[in-house]
Subunit: 182 residues, 2 copies
DNA sequence: CGCGTTCGGCTAACGGTGTTAGCCGATGGT
DNA sequence: ACCATCGGCTAACACCGTTAGCCGAACGCG
């Protein structure tokens, strides 16, 4: 993947703004060009195709998410709970970007190496084992998309489901004497 | 939602075949018409728009899924395990239909009333409580889409994650004396 | 029988999409 | 002073969903 020039970064930034404020159907080459006071074909002087634009948005999204997750888990008394809060907050703040990041196979070849692992690391540390991390990730992602798509009734039960799932995947206390409060 | 005539049912059936065999990008009005030896505009004599076609595929998918889930759970020794097996089998057999069923808000207004609840019922029975059902559904759906999109490494750990999640959401044994084997 | 309606095809066309080809003025290096 | 590169531009293509309007065949019915 070619490195993006400064004009390309501008294009990606306005593309992300369009996506976040008006959703994926509005994310059109002509629309992006309009926003920049430019014609659509000129975009191709900076970006090879629309997919590369979407990939760049996804990469930015992962970078931002990774930062938030690391900051949330760092030194938290309840790392899993903190991670889940940060995860939900990210998805709620950038639902269209979140969907773009998750609703298709990852463009791994066009992503900085290590970024995927970096994003996954805080959860891994929060729950202990890799298989538990994958299960917990699946739960959190599942809840998130079901909520984004309004598949779950908006009653208190959904919040209970969050609690139930978090409790199910929280690592057991480190061994010794005092039990944890709940 | 208008009831679909017999020709419309044929159209939906070939649309589903195209979707299942070649994916959503191939699901084109012209492509469907071709398959039927017909021109694209003629489809609109039977179906109001493409979205209605997709909705019909989704409804068929839910009906088939509901049947499979009911059959799987019915009288099973481990209802949750049986449900998960049936769920994964359905998604693996019809990945594109599964995505269509889950990757967008449900077209509830154009679905037979009760179908959504019927599809959800087997899992609800299998785990006991509604909040546990939602959490378990999120986990199963999350694992499924992550696997469909090849987001999880294809090692044994993912299978462990399935086991871990299932164990986490299995209802406690009914009370009395003898412990279950594992 | 004849008539009118409805049905289910058709062609032509519109506006929108991503994308390519090719032109051209400005900028900047040698 | 020249030439190349950069970053715009217009025109156009193929494909998409969809609409308008035509037309032959089939059918109900007086």
């Amino acid at each position: 993947m070619r490195e993006l020039g400064p004009r390309a970064r501008e294009i990606v930034a306005t593309a992300r703004e369009v996506l976040e404020s008006e959703g994926p159907r509005a994310l059109t080459m002509r629309r992006i060009a309009d926003e920049l006071g430019i014609r659509a074909p000129s975009l191709y002087k900076h970006v090879p195709h629309k997919t590369a634009l979407e990939t760049a948005i996804v990469v930015d999204g992962f970078q931002e998410a990774a930062q938030r997750f690391e900051a949330a888990v760092d030194g938290a008394a309840d790392p899993l709970g903190a991670f889940v809060d940060a995860y939900r907050a990210f998805a709620a703040a950038h639902p269209h970007v979140y969907r773009l990041m998750t609703q298709r196979p990852l463009p791994r070849d066009d992503m900085p190496p290590g970024l995927e692992a970096r994003t996954a690391a805080p959860l891994l540390r929060a729950v202990g084992s890799p298989q538990r991390a994958r299960a917990a990730w699946a739960f959190v992602h599942g809840m998130t998309v079901l909520e984004l798509d309004a598949r779950l009734p908006d009653d208190g039960v959904t919040e209970d489901a969050w609690r139930e799932g978090i409790a199910a995947f929280r690592p057991p206390p480190p061994a010794a004497g005092r039990p944890e409060e709940h």
